[in-house]
């Protein structure tokens, strides 16, 4: 059924902390490993060891450089809104920063990927809000992937069906696991604990508190899909003296104090 269920009480999802993600791709690899053998697998690759490997991953880690605003006057005018927020103390160091950015299904509250599906294969669970694909019903028309702005769905040419993040639904309710292991594989694998799993529909849950405390935000809210997953922004960087970096690079050897052999070498090399 591709009609969306009534708003769910429980909203299971992820909170991703961009402040501490180091871009190691462990989440992506752990996801691939678990889901390849899990209930929704396999996640086949084509030409895996060849020239142009191609395959389904539910989790992709981008790396971005965030550069200072207003370095050019023309840009200041163009991005007046952004420049203002920067001026009020964004905490961006003058040299800019690198942000690693894991991207996966956001299990949106009102996603078009579900409603455009002609077969009912794409659905949102009424009990916990997880968005899934029934791979036995999917005809592989790819329309859901066109409707998703977040690139959460990847089509498997090998299997002829659409595949996507399941929020490890085959782990989180798995009673054969110890309670601590009932978490998505990506969350378990993250070495810096940049990923958190929980119920974002419950304001008292750890993840909801984290979002409130750190001003967690939605990606592309203008699309109106109401993502459940939240991202935590990088914390303000220390505003150190940016000239210090230059000082270190300066030539600071006092040649006159060096032994004669080195003085001679310096003279020769300086010619």
């Amino acid at each position: 059924m591709t009609m969306l269920p009534p708003p769910t009480q429980k909203k299971l999802g992820l909170v991703i902390d961009l402040d501490i993600c180091v871009g190691c791709h462990a989440c992506a690899v752990a996801c691939k490993q678990w889901n390849d053998g899990g209930q929704f697998g396999p996640l086949p690759d084509e030409d895996a060891y060849g020239r142009e490997p191609l395959g389904v991953w539910f989790n992709r880690v981008h790396s971005y450089e965030v550069a200072e605003l207003g370095t050019r006057d023309s840009e200041l005018g163009k991005h007046a809104d952004l420049a203002t927020s920067s001026a009020t103390g964004s905490g961006l160091p003058a040299t800019g920063m690198t942000v690693h950015f894991p991207r996966s299904c956001l299990h949106c509250e009102t996603p078009d990927c579900v409603t455009v599906c002609p077969t009912g294969a794409s659905y949102k669970r009424a009990e916990d809000g997880i968005v899934l694909v029934d791979e036995d019903k999917c005809i592989g028309c790819k329309l859901c992937s066109w409707a998703c702005p977040y690139g959460a769905r990847e089509y498997s040419e090998v299997r002829g069906v659409m595949q996507k993040c399941t929020l490890c639904v085959d782990r989180i309710y798995n009673e054969s696991f110890d309670e601590v292991d009932r978490q998505p594989a990506c969350v378990m694998a993250c070495p810096t604990r940049a990923r958190h799993f929980g119920d974002l529909g419950d304001p008292d849950s750890d993840v909801s508190k984290l979002v409130a405390q750190r001003n967690g935000y939605d990606l592309m809210p203008e699309m109106g899909y109401k993502p459940v997953n939240k991202y935590l922004p990088p914390r303000p960087r220390r505003t150190g003296d940016t000239r210090r970096a230059d000082v270190v690079l300066e030539e600071s050897i006092d040649v006159s104090a060096a032994p004669p052999l080195l003085r001679w070498l310096d003279r020769m090399l300086s010619r």
Binding site: L54, Y64, P118, L143, S145, G151
Partner: protein
């Protein structure tokens, strides 16, 4: 977006087929005597062949075509499902009309079946266009020019082919109401179609999707965001399917070719056909055929561009700004 041939053929062939069926239904609804019985059957068969070929071609795009029947189930929310349902339902009046014509009935039954067929034909093309125009993720599709474009160009294909069939079957020997009407319709549909497409191209050149890499990552508050490293070194499904890029230097001549094939050529051919009808029916057939072939070729180029020029917001994550024309 990746311009998949199966989908381009689907929209062009079914658009033209439903254009033919719409006009046949309309003619029969207005006056069952306007088109002869044999001719009506030929037009009906041609329209159904075009429409069915298009619909079958669309299943080639599927990963699991044997499950295509499941696509009729979600008509409450999905335009693709609605399109399938309306297309299938349209076969009922079409086949009943065929039987009625075959048995030589006329009058009220023909009129009502013709009207029903016309409604289903237009509804099917409406649904096809809505599949694309309902996608908020693709600026070049999510706008008010897409639906009229599909309808007008379907009408152009249908009227040009009906004019050709009409003369091929030897019924156009004088400038009767049908020949005059069809020639006029080709001209009107070509003109309005090309104006609509020109406005559409102007729209996608001068406006863009509100999302940016800054809003896609939510990092805009810190500064300009640009991709320094993609998640994968090779292509993936997303970059293959949504990352198709067409340089402006190529899109310009292609737009010109599409425009010429859609409007000036069919218009001149239709005028020539109308002028030649009373004097040289053979030449008239040739002119009508030129109009039909030119319109169809133009539709293919136009539809290829419709996909190739469309940019998907997901590419913002890969640092591709919209639009990337330079």
């Amino acid at each position: 977006m990746n311009p998949a041939l199966s989908v381009i053929f689907f929209t062009v062939a079914s658009g033209t087929g439903y254009g033919l069926l719409f006009l046949l239904g309309l003619c029969l609804a207005v006056d069952p005597g306007m088109i002869g019985r044999t001719e009506s059957l030929v037009v009906l068969a041609t329209g159904l062949v075009f429409a069915s070929a298009g619909l079958l071609s669309s299943t080639l795009h599927l990963g699991q075509p044997q499950r295509a029947w499941r696509a009729f189930s979600q008509w409450r929310s999905s335009w693709l499902s609605r399109e399938g349902v309306v297309a299938m339902c349209g076969f009922v009046p079409a086949l009943l009309l065929g039987m009625t014509l075959w048995q030589g009935h006329d009058g009220t039954v023909l009129r009502s079946l013709g009207a029903t067929l016309a409604i289903f034909a237009i509804a099917t093309v409406f649904c096809t266009a809505r599949i694309y125009s309902s996608l908020k993720t693709i600026h070049a599709w999510h706008n008010g020019f897409v639906l009229p474009g599909y309808l007008l160009l379907g009408l152009l294909g249908g009227s040009a082919w009906l004019l050709t069939l009409n003369s091929l079957l030897g019924h156009a020997t004088a400038n009767d109401i049908l020949t005059t009407g069809l020639s006029g319709l080709v001209i009107a549909a070509a003109l309005s179609g090309v104006v609509c497409k020109r406005m559409y191209w102007q729209f996608i050149d001068t406006t863009k999707h509100p999302a940016t890499t800054e809003s896609a990552t939510g990092l805009g508050r810190f500064g300009h965001v640009h991709s320094v490293e993609a998640p994968h070194t090779e292509q993936n499904y997303l970059t293959n399917e949504m990352g198709f890029r067409l340089a402006r230097k190529h899109s310009k001549p292609l737009r010109a070719i599409a425009s010429i094939l859609i409007a000036p050529l069919p218009i001149m051919a239709a005028i020539a056909a109308w002028l030649l009808t009373p004097v040289a029916p053979m030449l008239m057939t040739v002119c009508a055929g030129i109009a039909a072939l030119s319109a169809t070729a133009g539709l293919f180029v136009e539809r290829w561009l419709f996909f190739a020029e469309a940019k998907h917001v997901v590419m913002l994550y890969y640092g591709v700004a919209q639009p990337d024309f330079a």
